[in-house]
């Protein structure tokens, strides 16, 4: 890895002035692109293909003006605005207006996340790992690595913008707005890449830099959403968010370019800030140093469960917040639903909603989406045990006199507890959202019960992962196949008419869709028992096999 920059830097010495702080930028840029070419290609393809597929899907589900207009009625509720965009063109909801309103937010957030990850990867992460020291020791200017990093981010964004434009035009949407859409994505990505360049100066650790930049993105998301709720085509508050600038171009409705100038200006300002911050600090240091932590472990950290809880709590908290926010949002969509379904029977084909008991059915379906989050969390939490094993930390703990079964049992218990909380909170918040929207208190209780009913399914998923960790640790990643299957069956099962046997493999599918369906104990008991058997098998397996490191 270090061999390449050496060779590149040699060419630099020959070709450019050594006194410039930017010397070596171009060769480094090439190195970064070489290192990232697969990563960038995957991002670009994933983003633009998703975009293309969604546009095509919208075209199929809402084939005519009437159906789109029915959809538009739904888009004025606060939760819809939060997850979409400023309500332009609702009175004449063309496919373009629909695409701009309903897809742009997801795309802008995704491209921003891409930019943040790429920017931190080549700035703070390089510094933290010490690779930057190797680069800076070469005849490379002070600002060259950071500039090269941002050029890579810009390259990725340019590609996203270009491919997105092509994809949009390819679906038959109007060209000028499509170009604007692509540009808006690229520029918004660039803004958040520049945000990450600033946060990378502030902290010593890549994770913290990424976290801070993502937090800024989160705030931008909320500010835009709340601003647009205040005034549904954008209030004064909206304009404080870079996401709003991209959406305020009124794509496919009444195109205007100037808001994008704000994005460009902010990028320049942020880069200037990053450079001036870089001036004031040493390599490897942050402007804000990490505060010292406790010198002694608190008593609760000293048990297997306490330690596991500490290691998993960050991720669990993230899932909890996510599930709760989406639960409330989805739940509160319940009231606006009635009108939409009446005007738009196709939706019934798309997801398994029973039109006679609309609200019940809707709540159950929304919850089944949230449960997929809990299932992903339980698999992640269980697989962390394998990561502990691979890193040799399990060996360290075990050599301290804790038996493997005790370690594994404690870990699985905590993972189960954490994900159970996430599952039940998913039910609870969906119910609260529905209660808020409809004014009927019963939903809160009913959806909480529905959440509880998903526990066997979630725990079974975790137990499958655990059994793999116990018996086939090298293949434990296969547990994600089950998660993907569940997502696929839940999202597309109805629309694609998947065969029953495939759908039956999903534990979520095996759970009755409360509160609309009757509760049936048999599948829940069977799944619970199966989970217990697999967990016991996991304990047996881990006792018999070699530790990984």
């Amino acid at each position: 890895m270090t061999a390449t920059p050496t060779r590149e830097a040699d060419t630099t010495r020959a070709t450019s002035r050594p006194e410039s702080p930017f010397t070596g930028t171009l060769p480094l840029w090439r190195v970064f692109l070489r290192l990232d070419r697969l990563r960038i290609a995957i991002w670009v393809l994933a983003l633009t293909l998703t975009m293309w597929a969604t546009v095509v899907e919208l075209e199929v589900v809402y084939p005519d003006a009437a159906s789109r207009q029915a959809r538009a009625a739904l888009m004025t509720s606060p939760s819809a605005i939060m997850l979409a965009g400023p309500a332009y063109g609702l009175d004449d909801y063309t496919l373009g207006a629909m695409v701009a309103n309903e897809i742009s937010l997801t795309m802008l957030v995704a491209v921003s996340i891409m930019s943040i990850l790429l920017a931190v990867r080549h700035t703070r992460a390089e510094e933290e790992s010490g690779r930057m020291e190797v680069l800076r020791a070469l005849p490379v200017g002070r600002f060259a690595p950071a500039t090269a990093a941002l050029l890579s981010v810009a390259t990725a964004n340019l590609l996203v913008g270009a491919f997105a434009t092509v994809a949009l035009v390819g679906t038959g949407l109007e060209a000028q707005s499509s170009v604007a859409f692509g540009s808006a994505m690229a520029l918004t990505g660039l803004v958040f890449g520049a945000v990450a360049a600033v946060t990378a100066q502030l902290t010593e650790h890549a994770r913290a830099a990424t976290g801070m930049a993502l937090a800024v993105l989160g705030v931008a998301f909320l500010v835009r959403g709340i601003g647009d709720i205040i005034e549904n085509t954008g209030s004064w508050l909206s304009w404080f968010s870079p996401i709003a600038w991209a959406q305020q171009t009124r794509l496919y409705v009444d195109l205007r370019w100037w808001p994008l100038a704000l994005s460009l200006a902010l990028t320049v300002v942020l880069l200037a800030v990053a450079v001036s911050l870089a001036h004031r600090r040493d390599l490897g240091a942050g402007l804000r140093s990490t505060p010292p932590g406790p010198a002694r472990a608190a008593g609760r950290l000293l048990s297997v469960e306490g330690l596991t809880h500490r290691l998993l709590r960050g991720t669990t908290l993230g899932w909890l917040v996510g599930v709760a926010l989406f639960g409330l949002t989805f739940g509160s969509l319940a009231s606006s639903l009635q009108d939409m379904i009446e005007d738009l029977p196709q939706v019934g084909e798309w997801i398994a909603i029973d039109e006679t008991a609309l609200t019940e059915s809707f709540g159950g379906v929304m919850l089944s989406f949230l449960v997929l989050g809990a299932a992903a969390h339980v698999v992640g939490a269980v697989l962390r045990l394998r990561a502990e094993d691979e890193a040799g930390r399990l060996a360290l703990l075990v050599s301290g006199g804790t038996s493997r079964t005790r370690m594994t049992g404690g870990w699985l218990l905590v993972a189960a507890a954490h994900t159970s909380v996430v599952t039940v909170v998913g039910g609870l918040t969906t119910g609260v959202g529905m209660t808020l929207a409809t004014g009927e208190g019963r939903w809160t209780g009913e959806l909480t019960v529905a959440g509880l009913a998903y526990l066997p399914a979630v725990l079974l998923t975790g137990a499958v992962a655990a059994a793999l960790v116990g018996w086939l640790p090298r293949w434990a990643g296969l547990a994600w196949v089950l998660v993907v299957l569940m997502v696929f069956v839940t999202w597309f099962g109805e629309a694609l008419n998947l065969p029953d046997w495939l759908r039956d493999l999903s534990p979520v599918e095996q759970t009755p869709l409360l509160p609309a369906e009757d509760i049936t104990a048999a599948p829940l008991l069977v799944m619970g028992a199966l989970a217990a058997v697999l967990a016991a098998a996991a304990l047996g397996g881990i006792r018999r096999r070699d530790l990984l490191a």
Binding site: E204, H205, T290, G293, R296, A297, R310, D546, L547
Partner: protein
């Protein structure tokens, strides 16, 4: 018969896929001694230690640690053993102090406050830093403090000083000597010869999964040669006829040759008759022992 052996491994075989990491390996460590375990990277040192800890199950052969089978009685063994892995991976979000407490308390014994504080000071380790920001050396120190603060019978160190600077190495040396004075048993794997020479009573040399040589340092020296350098007044040809003398070279008036230690007693009188003006006899360094088993270069030169 085995009661004075803290570690006894017989004919251990462990394969990973097609690689035979251990291939009929024997190891004995007497209670109360410091045993060195020497070999190049990939020779099977870590595999052996992990079999002795019951992390890996040997395909065949027997291992007894403190009189118990480490695979079957893992927990009982672990309560009386402390271990420092070669490459210490810690939880990035926990501080060094927290990790030390986690590792020593999970042991189930009492924490040794004074010992912990003393070791933190000696190793100059800041316990309030998160493990994420520790260098390799500092991560190693966390594992060392946790192990050394534990009051156990047997200490297993897997290349413990890799990543430590010389000052910290000296602290480690001191601590191992202290363990020996207290009658604890230590197994120390290393590829640093000086370290083993400095600390160990016995040495086992492992190569490609087999023990190729084993014994006290004195016994192993017995198997090799000493290097003699001298200036003499008379002609040296008499030496050439003696059995056990090898590679005699005369250069710039200096005479130098290797001699089998068993032949030393016969060589010295002959040397004395030549009229010695100046003489050094150097014992073989572990470097040389090592080269005999792993280096084709040295065996080519000396034979």
């Amino acid at each position: 018969m085995t009661s004075d052996l803290a570690i006894e491994a017989r004919d251990l075989v462990k394969t990973f896929g097609t690689t035979r990491a251990l291939d009929g390996f024997d190891l004995s460590v007497r209670t109360g001694t410091v045993a060195g375990f020497l070999g190049p990277n990939g020779a099977g040192k870590s595999t052996t230690i992990r079999v002795l800890l019951g992390m890996l199950r040997a395909d065949s052969g027997t291992a007894r640690v403190l009189g118990m089978d480490p695979w079957v009685d893992a927990v009982a063994v672990h309560r009386r053993v402390a271990y420092v892995p070669g490459d210490t991976n810690l939880w990035p979000s926990l501080t060094g102090g927290e990790i030390i407490d986690v590792l020593t308390r999970l042991r189930g014994g009492e924490r040794h406050e004074a010992r912990r504080a003393e070791l933190l000071e000696k190793f100059e380790l800041d316990p309030t830093k998160r493990a994420r920001s520790y260098s390799k050396g500092n991560r190693q120190k966390v594992a060392l403090v946790a192990a050394l603060a534990s009051d156990v019978e047997l200490y297993l160190f897997d290349e413990p000083t890799s990543g430590l600077d010389p000052l910290m190495e000296a602290v480690f040396t001191q601590e191992v000597r202290r363990l020996r004075e207290e009658g604890r048993t230590v197994l120390l794997s290393s590829h640093i010869l000086a370290e083993v020479e400095k600390l160990c009573d016995t040495v086992t040399i492992i190569r490609a999964g087999r023990d190729v040589e084993s014994g006290t340092l004195a016994e192993l020296r017995h198997l090799t040669r000493s290097t003699v350098t001298a200036t003499t007044r008379s002609d040296h040809t008499a030496l050439l006829r003696l059995p056990g003398v090898h590679d005699l070279v005369r250069e710039d008036g200096y005479l130098s040759f290797d001699v089998d230690n068993t032949a030393l007693n016969d060589v010295l009188p002959v040397l004395a008759q030549l009229g010695v003006e100046n003489l050094t006899i150097a014992p073989p360094s572990l470097e040389e022992l090592f080269m005999r088993h792993y280096g084709d270069e040295l065996s080519g030169v000396s034979s």
